[in-house]
């Protein structure tokens, strides 16, 4: 009397499989959309950098005032966040993500060189931090939080973060020129290299300019509150 309706099992399996396939396709679609978004931000930044490079080349003929410099690092920052989120969700072995990551690192290096030149020529007040992280690094998460917070608070602070082990010639040159050891987190500030985690207070000791900016911010905030 116990009967088995095999057809029903096969039919159920097919429907479940179709739902699974649809979910995976949908997930892939949104993931690809993300990569597309990253690529479009990346392209936009490339154009901006190229434009700045051209402007810099024309520096001698034009005044420093005409070179816009503030928005770029913010865009680079948000691109970095989106890229690292995508790296976690798609996996660091995804060739598309890795290609974007290499391009992003190149953009960072170009931006760093360009901003350095602008600072030298025009005397801007930018401060640069070059941050290296690696795979086996317990404190890198905390260090990233500190640097993100500082970058948000001070627009003139430019933070460039690099995956130490990324297969990119320009990055490896940057590492060898500055003799960065495989010890993370590593921070290159000016000509000095700092190893191990540095909290906000320690960062302010290393870069006294941060304290000056903080005081300025506080003064401005107070003035705004009083005016209101």
């Amino acid at each position: 009397m116990h009967e088995v309706d095999w057809k029903k099992y096969v039919f159920t399996f097919l429907i479940t499989a179709i739902i699974f396939f649809s979910a995976i396709t949908l997930s892939r679609y949104f993931s690809d959309k993300r990569v597309e978004e990253i690529r479009s931000i990346h392209d936009q930044i490339s154009v901006n950098i190229l434009s700045s490079e051209v402007q810099t080349a024309l520096l001698e003929q034009f005044s420093c005032k005409e070179i816009g410099t503030t928005a770029l690092s913010q865009e680079l920052g948000s691109l970095g966040e989106k890229l690292s989120y995508t790296e976690v969700s798609r996996g660091s072995d995804d060739p598309e993500v890795m290609a974007l990551k290499r391009n992003y690192s190149l953009l960072e290096i170009k931006d760093y060189l360009l901003m350095n030149r602008i600072r030298e020529k025009c005397g801007t007040k930018h401060v640069f931090i070059i941050y290296f992280y690696g795979a086996k690094c317990e404190d890198c998460g905390k260090q990233s939080l500190v640097l993100t917070k500082l970058r948000e608070d001070f627009p003139e602070l430019r933070v460039y973060s690099f995956d130490y082990n990324l297969d990119l010639g320009a990055l490896q040159t940057l590492i060898s020129i500055n003799k960065i050891e495989e010890n993370f987190p590593a921070l290159l500030i000016g000509d000095d290299v700092y190893y191990n985690y540095k909290n906000i207070d320690e960062m302010e000791t290393i870069i006294p300019q941060l304290k000056v900016w903080r005081l300025e911010n506080e003064r401005q905030e107070k003035a705004t509150t009083t005016a209101q």
Partner: protein
């Protein structure tokens, strides 16, 4: 490594859950035309004699109401015999039962405490009906329940009929949550009926042909879940069990989390241990859907519920740790910025959404089956919000007790 295993387990358990929900829904849509919502019932052509056993142990609060409901049954009085078996109660149950000493219809017996199955076996010896049933002393039958059940015995192959059990007068959040769960159970049992895979003949008002007991023997201790064991034994002997979804019985549901936890731990412990005793049914196509799918799925669902709880705890612990690290590193930060980019779009999220949609679909159908139409009430929210989170606790405890062979007490 742990992450990869955990991800595979997530997808495997999502696959099993979706398969199960779809399987139930296909069964429903296949049989929908034959499934009548509670309707007028046919008068049976003849009324066979029925004996209802009411085992009780310290049931002073509900026994009178239980017996009153039996006396109110729409069934010829001379064909209905009621036996109350007091299993050595230490409260006033026996005193309350004194008032039935002179009753023609209710016979009261008392024996030393030995457990529910001993009370039932004691009662079996005293019964004379062609059909024998049991009613827990904390349950109340609806007037038409017996006639509706007896109609199913027109099929000579049917050896036992189970009713639709509902929660009596649910008031607090826990009871309201169980109300939805029991409605789900009514739907589920009906689908199991269609699949020939009912594996519990519940204490509240399951009726058997008398010959069931001569064919397969009396009730057994069965890890304190004799109603589950006897159903499995019937299935093992190819005796047909059907469900009368319109024969309504109300039962008093646990009012506190502690009593609910104890009751469910006993049920799960009973299920696990009886499954071990009847392991030959598993994945054995000789026993049809029950062996091939329903019982293995019930075991899988225990493990996947526990895994669900663990992964939920794990992901929240990781998130909490990240938040604490952030707070300790850069201090409190309030950000209202929102970017769709950072909303997860993993396949597991979409599959969970489909799974929840199917659960809601089954809940709607369950309510239509029990109440005739769907209506929204807060109990559905309580069920969806809390049920999955509290179930794994008793599952885990029962599993632990099974592995370490600890028996689980009744109360």
């Amino acid at each position: 490594m742990f992450g990869a295993i955990s991800e595979v387990l997530v997808y495997v358990s999502l696959f099993f859950s979706l398969f199960f929900e779809i399987f139930l829904l296909i069964t429903y849509f296949e049989k929908r035309s034959t499934l009548k919502v509670q309707s007028e019932y046919k008068e049976p052509a003849h009324f066979p004699t029925v004996s209802i056993m009411v085992p009780c142990y310290n049931e002073e609060e509900t026994i009178l109401k239980t017996l009153s409901s039996l006396l109110m049954l729409d069934y010829p009085k001379d064909k209905l015999e009621i036996l109350v078996i007091d299993d050595g109660s230490s409260d006033n149950t026996l005193k309350i039962l004194d008032q039935f000493n002179s009753s023609n219809q209710i016979k009261v017996y008392s024996k030393p405490n030995g457990g529910k199955y001993t009370a039932l076996n004691f009662g079996l010896q005293k019964t004379s009906g062609e059909f024998v049933g049991c009613l827990d002393a904390d349950s109340f039958v609806e007037k038409s329940a017996l006639k509706r059940i007896m109609n199913h015995f027109n099929d000579a192959e049917t050896m036992a009929v189970t009713p639709a059990v509902r929660v009596h007068d649910p008031k607090n959040v826990l009871e309201l949550m169980q109300k939805v769960e029991y409605a789900w159970g009514i739907f589920y049992r009906k689908m199991l009926d269609y699949l020939g895979a009912i594996f519990v003949t519940p204490g509240p008002f399951s009726i058997y042909r008398r010959e069931v007991f001569s064919l397969i023997g009396d009730y057994r201790h069965a890890h304190n879940t004799e109603d589950l064991e006897i159903a499995l034994r019937m299935q093992a002997n190819h005796l047909k069990i059907v469900n009368a979804h319109d024969a309504i019985v109300y039962t008093v549901a646990p009012k506190t989390l502690k009593t609910l936890y104890k009751q469910r731990r006993r049920w799960t412990y009973g299920f696990l241990n009886n499954s071990l005793d009847y392991k030959f049914l598993f994945l054995n196509k000789k026993y049809g859907n029950i062996g091939l799918y329903i019982l293995p799925m019930a075991i899988i669902s225990i493990f996947s519920s526990i895994f669900f709880l663990f992964s939920l705890f794990w992901s929240n612990a990781v998130r909490a740790q990240e938040s604490i690290t952030k707070l300790m590193t850069i201090g409190p930060e309030f950000s209202l910025s929102f970017d769709w980019f950072f909303v997860s779009s993993s396949a597991a999220i979409f599959l969970t959404v489909v799974g929840i949609a199917l659960i809601i679909c089954i809940l709607v159908l369950s309510r239509r089956l029990t109440d005739g139409h769907f209506y929204f009430s807060m109990d559905i929210i309580y069920f969806l919000a809390f049920y999955s989170f509290i179930v794994p606790f008793w599952l885990l405890s029962a599993l632990f007790n099974t592995i370490f062979s600890r028996s689980v007490a009744w109360k």
